[in-house]
């Protein structure tokens, strides 16, 4: 364990990343799709008899677009970067070292995107219509270029393909199996979101006839994406590693509990969100004059819900890794986990951030919890350990820690029997039980046999596990 773990109480570092990311993803896609929207709207306005009126509305859209995408979009983009350093420094370091120049190229696109947007916005009343159309087009191409680059790094984490720590093959990692389907999904989604942002700005128009025309223009941006996304999502799904597909179909306890599979949850969420968007857009198309701000915001919130589902789905699918097959979520390298001496030796002795705690104490257990568990679990908040271990006995906990990796969603435990005992004692202490860690390491074999259990922990039906209803592999 190289880095300290940011121990964020009941929230959890992962949820901090998720909150920032979910906000950013919607806005960043609006930022790209909005560019195409501006180009088409510029051209459309020139072909209409009341083009100036449309351009006046477009100026309002551009103001909203500029403020929304720069203030919230750009800043939360940096925020994701800040938060991933805190939540998973080891993985961030790997990504930065492997893809630093890809990131630097994305920054060039970002610099261009921002500057061209300013030239477009500040020149709205001075530039010729032809120049405005050109600037909007340049903005869209550059903004989409930034998506083309960042998509390689994002998809690498779940589907690194032929990249390995040894070959460091940047092309294989960047153009990984998930790259193209994810790029297409993001591209069509950004058109949809641009249309939804258009609804919001159009909803403020007072002249109902004019509002109806703008709403009809925005409708055309939403429908194609709503049709294409399911097919592209299936393509993306086919590129996922087999272990990920297995996890997603295996039934996972998520934010709201229950035992539906992640795949089922996502399918329901996507279905509900997609249907609401399509139905909502058709209603807007049929009754464009009645579109109001609340309805338009509701549509954006539904899209936000769909994005949230997609983000959680992807994060779920990546378990137990943060970079699939390379690095576990808690900073353990897969290569180290394959070395029994590394994996089963005393954790406390080799943990850099142990803080000199005495072995076989609750403080020892807390250190193990913090350094091995707290990157994904909180004590009694989000992904609560207290909840997940509600049925644990001390003996059961010690045995379960030795086999938890067999479920597929948990990394292997690092450490020896003392570390396990200390962790179990600490976890049980969170619900008020007092267990002396020393009692758990005296004779685990005898304890297990006395309770009629396999000391290796195999073959036991386990309650309260991350994967509901699963059994430890035989």
């Amino acid at each position: 364990m190289n880095y300290p773990i940011w121990d964020v109480g009941g929230l959890g570092a992962g949820l901090v990343v998720a909150i920032i990311a979910i906000i950013h993803v919607l806005i960043s896609h609006v930022a790209v799709g909005g560019g195409a929207f501006l180009v088409v709207a510029e051209i459309w306005s020139r072909r209409q008899p009341d083009g100036q009126r449309i351009r006046d509305w477009l100026h309002k859209f551009a103001t909203f677009f500029l403020v929304y995408t720069t203030v919230v979009g750009a800043t939360t983009g940096v925020g994701i970067w800040f938060s991933i350093q805190l939540a998973s420094a080891e993985a961030t370091s790997l990504l930065i070292h492997q893809f630093v120049f890809a990131w630097a190229i994305e920054w060039v696109f970002f610099l261009g995107e921002l500057t061209v947007l300013y030239l477009y916005y500040y020149g709205f009343k001075r530039n010729t219509p032809r120049m405005q159309t050109f600037l909007a087009g340049a903005y869209f191409v550059i903004a989409w270029g930034s998506l083309v680059v960042i998509n390689g790094i994002l998809t690498f984490m779940l589907t690194p393909g032929a990249w390995t720590l040894e070959n460091k093959d940047i092309a294989a990692g960047f153009f990984n199996p998930g790259y193209f389907p994810a790029l297409l999904i993001r591209t069509v989604t950004m058109f949809l979101l641009a249309g939804l942002a258009g609804f919001l700005v159009a909803s403020r128009i007072r002249d109902e006839e004019f509002k109806a025309r703008i709403i009809q223009f925005c409708v055309k941006w939403v429908i194609p994406a709503a049709i294409l996304v399911p097919g592209l999502s299936y393509w993306y799904f086919t590129t996922l590693p087999a272990s990920t597909v297995s996890i997603l179909g295996g039934g996972t306890v998520g934010v709201v509990g229950g035992t539906l599979s992640a795949l089922t949850r996502m399918a329901i969420l996507a279905g509900v969100a997609g249907t609401l968007l399509v139905v909502g857009t058709l209603v807007f198309a049929a009754y464009p004059k009645t579109v109001n701000t609340i309805a338009a915001i509701s549509m954006l919130l539904v899209a936000q819900l769909g994005i949230m589902g997609a983000e959680f789905f992807r994060e779920m699918g990546r378990k137990p890794y943060v970079i699939h097959g390379v690095l576990y979520s808690n900073g353990l390298w897969v290569k180290d986990a394959k070395d029994p001496a590394q994996l089963n030796g005393s954790y406390l002795e080799k943990a850099k951030w142990r803080g000199g705690v005495a072995p076989r104490t609750l403080a020892h257990g807390e250190q193990v919890f913090r350094l091995q568990c707290a990157s994904c679990h909180t004590r009694d908040g989000y992904r609560s350990v207290v909840y997940r271990t509600r049925d644990w006995t001390p003996e059961f906990g010690s045995r379960w820690l030795g086999t938890m990796q067999d479920m597929g969603v948990m990394p292997p435990f690092q450490g020896d029997a003392l570390d396990k005992a200390a962790l179990v004692a600490y976890v049980l202490s969170l619900r008020g039980e007092t267990v002396d860690p020393r009692d758990l390491v005296r004779d685990p074999q005898a304890t297990a046999e006395r309770n009629g259990l396999d000391p290796g922990g195999r073959g036991q039906a386990l309650r309260g596990l991350e994967v509901a209803g699963a059994e430890v592999a035989q």
């Binding site: 919230v72 938060s83 070292h97």
Partner: protein, 390 residues
């Protein structure tokens, strides 16, 4: 329970014997190009970031002062600065990205550790930036920016800007102090720490903020030249008087910060900076170019010539760049007992580095061409507006 355990951790950490400092190993992937290239890229982009940050910091405080002073022409200059604020913030964020990227490549194991130890305050930077950036747009777009509520928001945004700078200085100073890490982690694993006992903390904070007045002064000098060229002589002279005053103020504060930081440094580090060698050369170069910049601002007073503000801008860039490099030289000296750049293997990615260079040059050329096509029209329009309102 958790407080008791944390206290136990503090005590245990304090009494731990024989354990080394918890310094993470460098990333196994190594550097993608020789570190000197990453350092050069970092210095260049960090200098741009500091200039944009200084422009924003200086502009917001001068804007607030002008809103209170309200002498003749103050309102129009205040509007100019108010309009600069969202742009300045955009570019301070944008130019802040590459140095943050390169520092993570070069010193990631130090930087990530300190960021986590300050985690709460570090992540607080994001909502603070959203807030201040939003306020800067709001005060530009709102119908009545004179409303006291808007002024209050502007004051809060200025405070937020100072807060962001303070958290950055905390992080940078803590990243070179690994001897404090374990104690801070035991004290607050959730990152509610600050590096308050660093004797150079406040001096460094002042050091990065003080040039804000000078850089904003150059921006005001530009406006003054524009006014003089457009025949708005009184307004141009008014602008130039303010430009010189704030530029001098910034330099005086910077000198105070410089002396303060040198006196607060440990003796061995101070002697490293002030004795003969690269550090002294960089310090001398930075000081000399800053002095040249200030002289150019003074000479450009009341002159309708772009040459002075342009040359002053160049001089301040050339003053800041060596000081940015000096900052890194000091960091390497502070880290010498724990880590050296030479220890990290280099696994070159020349293809990617070349691709980045191509994109950078092409991107900058495109932006330059677009500016040449668009900006003259914008300036002409602004001129017409100002003449009308004058």
């Amino acid at each position: 329970m958790s407080t008791a355990l944390a206290m136990a951790g503090v005590l245990a950490a304090a009494t731990a014997s024989g354990g080394g400092l918890p310094i993470p190993s460098p990333d196994p992937l190594g550097y993608p190009v020789p570190p000197i290239l990453l350092q050069a890229l970092s210095y260049f982009t960090l200098t741009l970031h500091f200039l944009a940050m200084n422009l924003t910091v200086g502009s917001v405080f001068i804007y607030l002062w002008l809103r209170i002073a309200r002498k003749q022409y103050d309102d129009r200059l205040a509007r100019y600065l108010r309009d600069l604020l969202p742009l300045g913030t955009s570019y301070l964020i944008t130019f802040g990205i590459p140095p943050l990227l390169f520092v993570q490549v070069l010193y990631g194991q130090m930087f990530y550790s300190s960021s986590i130890l300050l985690g709460f305050h570090w992540i607080l930077v994001i909502p603070l930036v959203v807030f201040l950036y939003g306020v800067f747009y709001y005060q530009k777009l709102v119908k009545n920016p004179e409303h006291p509520g808007v002024l209050l928001l502007s004051v809060l945004a200025a405070m937020a800007l100072l807060g962001v700078g303070f958290f950055f200085v905390n992080n940078i100073t803590l990243s070179v102090s690994p001897e404090k890490w374990m104690g801070l982690y035991a004290k607050s694993p959730g990152g509610r720490n600050l590096n308050m006992d660093d004797p150079t903390l406040f001096a460094r904070w002042l050091l990065i903020l003080a040039p804000g007045f000078t850089v904003a002064g150059v921006a005001i000098l530009f406006r003054g030249v524009m006014m003089l060229k457009w025949g708005l002589t009184e307004e141009g002279r008014h602008n130039h008087r303010i430009a010189v005053s704030v530029a001098v103020l910034g330099m005086v504060l910077e000198a105070v910060a410089g002396v303060w930081i040198l006196s607060a440094m440990p003796d061995d580090l101070r002697s490293h900076v002030t004795s003969a060698g690269l550090a002294k050369l960089l310090l001398g170069l930075g000081t000399a170019m800053a002095s040249v910049g200030l002289v150019l601002v003074f000479l450009g007073r009341y002159k309708a010539s772009w040459a002075y503000p342009l040359m002053a801008s160049l001089a301040f860039f050339l003053a800041l760049a060596p000081l940015v490099a000096l900052r890194d030289v000091v960091r390497q000296e502070q880290l010498r007992p724990f880590f050296s750049l030479a220890e990290v293997p280099v696994h070159t990615q020349w293809g990617m580095a070349g691709l980045f260079a191509v994109f950078l040059v092409a991107g900058l050329l495109l932006l330059l061409a677009l500016h040449m096509m668009v900006v003259p029209g914008l300036i002409a329009g602004r001129r017409a507006e100002l003449r009308e309102s004058a």
